[in-house]
Homo-oligomer: 116 residues x 2
DNA sequence: ACAATACTTCAATTGTTATTGAATCATTAA
DNA sequence: TTAATGATTCAATAACAATTGAAGTATTGT
């Protein structure tokens, strides 16, 4: 994973609007959401949302697919995982207990995470 | 975990210098590193590094401790974990297989992660 | 006490990012 | 084919972040 890609991802996530958009699409999963749907959910002018969707897409965190006159956006989960891996790389070198919470937090197949 | 805290963390990580600093300290672990040490490792002027250390510290991603005339910085791993949790929250609702790579990637106590 | 070292703050400049309304493009419905 | 809808682009303005050198504060060594 190269640093500039990770940086672009963090830049993309460092705006409140884009963070909301991305999280919305993380939850939406495979189905994704079309732009207008996102705009009304987050109560944003189309022009401003478009600006942020472009930034997120250019960072690679979102993908777009055209559906007639709609644009369907989806979160790129594998990229998200790679970014996290880059950040946490070697995080507990010598002291695995320091980041014990990490595995637990991220085991999204367990009960606790479903309750979160 | 509140959104503004997460945003501050992403803002902090969205600069190449701060990303390098943070990762350096993630690897350094409990021991941390003093400012001058970080400056020489990353080849940065003290004044510029100081600016970025302040931003990282204000975001909560770093802690500082004074040691005589030195300032020792450490990564705040629990906050990093919370930020990741916020981002990945509900990431595989209904489709656990979509983020199967997540658990594996982040199991830093396993062999593969030590080799990364 | 004085000088040196470690680091931070300040102020000025430069560069980058966000927001908005108007205009545009593409697709669908009448 | 004309009108309506969904979405993006453009240009202008406003807001914010990064870098630098000079000055300042705190601690240690002589």
């Amino acid at each position: 994973m190269d640093k500039t890609a990770v940086l672009q991802a963090f830049e993309a996530l460092s705006s409140g609007i884009r963070l909301d958009v991305f999280r919305l699409l993380v939850v939406a999963g495979r189905e994704g959401r079309v732009a207008g749907d996102i705009a009304s959910t987050l109560d944003l002018p189309a022009t401003n949302l478009s600006f942020h969707l472009k930034a997120l897409t250019q960072s690679g965190l979102l993908s777009v697919e055209q559906e007639g006159r709609y644009q369907r956006y989806r979160a790129n989960i594998p990229l998200m995982v790679q970014v996290i891996a880059y950040l946490t790389d070697n995080c507990c070198a010598g002291h695995p207990e320091d980041c014990a919470g990490l595995r637990q937090t991220l085991d999204c197949s367990n009960e606790a995470s479903r309750r979160r």
